[in-house]
């Protein structure tokens, strides 16, 4: 199991959340969901609609860029465009199935903090901001959060600041997958590379679950396609 990487488990888990025909959006600093969408479209969800910041609908990307998930590669061979403003509009009127978003702090009531640690007006730490989160998490049918850090500063008893909350459905981390269930974040599955002890140790709120499942490993087919889609291994940059 030593050669199984968290990034591959996470990207495959994200990809499997995407159903065929879903409209799916990712934003900036989002290599992992971008690659997950490309994987889903190559595999089980060919009719998924890939939406992004430059606005190319279902771009046929030849090459990913290391520094950005908002570059013009996302317009390659698109037949039609839905630029960022209109992707937001789509979500506002109920037409966005999945928004992939991130954040810095999460609590078990599904609150997301991407703004500040400390006082809003004179913060101890100013974070980048939630980008689209504050309007997408409440309006997308499912907001799927991924976060490459899983520690007690990330998963906290109570977030310092509520940037937003809403339709958070899952949170995918290097250790496990959380799911919102009756207003509470519960454990859905633990990656085979981790353990319930490790998850509990690194989570700032008590772990609750209905049953303990193991996140399925990436299949050979998934790994093969991942290496075609992302030969430079950008899905791993946040871990490198």
């Amino acid at each position: 199991m030593d050669n199984i990487r968290a990034c591959d488990i996470m990207v495959c888990a994200m990809a499997r959340e995407i159903k065929n025909h879903n409209t799916v959006f990712h934003g900036v600093s989002s290599h992992m969901p971008m690659i997950a969408i490309l994987l889903a479209k190559a595999l089980h969800a060919p009719q998924a609609v890939h939406l992004n910041i430059p606005g190319g609908v279902n771009p046929e990307m030849k090459e990913l860029q290391k520094y950005t998930s908002a570059g013009s590669a996302l317009m390659t061979k698109s037949k039609t465009y839905l630029p960022l403003a209109e992707v937001f509009d789509l979500s506002m009127r109920g037409g966005l199935d999945i928004a992939f978003l991130s954040g810095i702090q999460f609590d078990n009531r599904g609150n997301v903090n991407a703004s500040v640690i400390g006082d809003y007006n004179k913060p101890k730490v100013r974070m980048p901001g939630g980008a689209g989160s504050a309007v997408l998490i409440p309006t997308a049918k499912r907001a799927i959060i991924w976060r490459t850090k899983h520690d007690r500063r990330t998963f906290v008893e109570k977030v310092d600041f509520v940037t937003t909350r809403g339709n958070v459905d899952k949170i995918i981390t290097p250790l496990c997958i959380f799911k919102m269930y009756k207003g509470e974040l519960i454990l859905e599955s633990i990656h085979p590379t981790s353990s319930i002890e490790e998850v509990a140790e690194n989570t700032g709120f008590p772990i609750r679950y209905i049953e303990i499942k193991t996140t399925p490993l990436p299949t050979e087919e998934e790994l093969r396609l991942l290496n075609i889609i992302d030969p430079q291994d950008y899905r791993n940059i946040e871990f490198a």
């Binding site: 900036v28 950005t68 937001f88 506002m92 004179k122 100013r126 980048p128 901001g129 980008a131 504050a134």
Partner: protein, 273 residues
């Protein structure tokens, strides 16, 4: 009537204390030459507006030109990580960070371009942003029972953008991702565009080649090849990694002058007429 002007004359259209809208998105097509000249001209107390900014806002903060930033996201992306000059300025209380969702910036600019004082925003329904920011508030839907969050209009005094093409008259064309630049131009009182190429107006009359921003909305065109560098410009160049890293390594304002000087002749070189 030619709108061509020097970068100095263009930047002189910006007054201290202006609301300044910036085009592009993160490291793409940011009007970096205009940003650099704004710092050289020591503009002060600017109120920056952008959906998702990176080096542009970071540099203006290091240059001590900024009072506030209205944005949804201020950070480089994965490879270059956080906008530390901006963060430091906010954490030290020098710059006020007015956090938006990117969409509420869009909504505020739409309100301005429609001449209305505010815009309802469906998605902004929960969280502390509504409480701590005076540009968000909740009102009653006069046609129903629910409350609706609204965002106050933002009318930039000046928008600065970088595009690939303009003609002398001031028509501007943006190739590749347009981000919010066209909306920004229409929401602002003045528009300054730096461009890679000056083309004959007749080019824009060809099918599929039409300009995106009408000339009569544009105050000044500055011809600056590489005017977005070290950010990318679709169809022209990708980012300049070394320059971005060199800038990110600057520890304080005193080191900025040399960095800016290294761009000065390029930024100012064209069209001094």
């Amino acid at each position: 009537m030619s709108k061509l002007m020097t970068i100095k004359d263009a930047v002189n259209l910006i007054k201290d204390g202006d609301i300044l809208g910036i085009g592009g998105n993160v490291l793409h097509r940011a009007p970096m030459a205009l940003v650099r000249e704004i710092i050289r001209a020591q503009k002060k107390h600017l109120k920056i507006v952008k959906t998702a900014g990176a080096m542009d806002i970071d540099m203006l903060c290091l240059g001590e030109c900024v009072d506030s930033v209205d944005a949804g996201f201020v950070s480089y992306e994965s490879e270059f990580a956080l906008a530390n000059h901006y963060r430091k300025a906010v954490q030290n209380g020098i710059v006020k960070a007015n956090e938006h969702a990117c969409y509420t910036v869009i909504s505020a600019l739409r309100a301005s371009s429609y001449g209305i004082p505010f815009m309802p925003v469906r998605g902004l329904v929960a969280g502390d942003l509504i409480e701590v920011n005076d540009y968000f508030t909740r009102i009653n839907n006069p046609f129903g029972d629910e409350k609706v969050t609204v965002v106050k209009a933002i009318t930039p005094d000046v928008a600065i953008i970088h595009a690939q093409e303009a003609d002398e008259e001031g028509n501007v064309r943006i190739l590749g991702p347009q981000f919010e630049d066209i909306l920004l131009a229409k929401a602002s009182k003045k528009v300054i565009a730096s461009v890679e190429r000056i083309v004959p107006g007749s080019k824009f009359a060809q099918p599929g080649e039409n300009a995106d921003i009408p000339y009569f909305l544009v105050s000044g065109i500055v011809h600056i090849p590489q005017g977005a560098s070290p950010c990318s410009c679709h169809g022209c160049y990708d980012i300049d990694r070394n320059s971005i890293k060199a800038f990110k390594d600057l520890t304080d304002k005193s080191k900025l002058a040399d960095y800016l000087f290294s761009y000065e002749s390029k930024d100012r070189g064209h069209y001094n007429g």
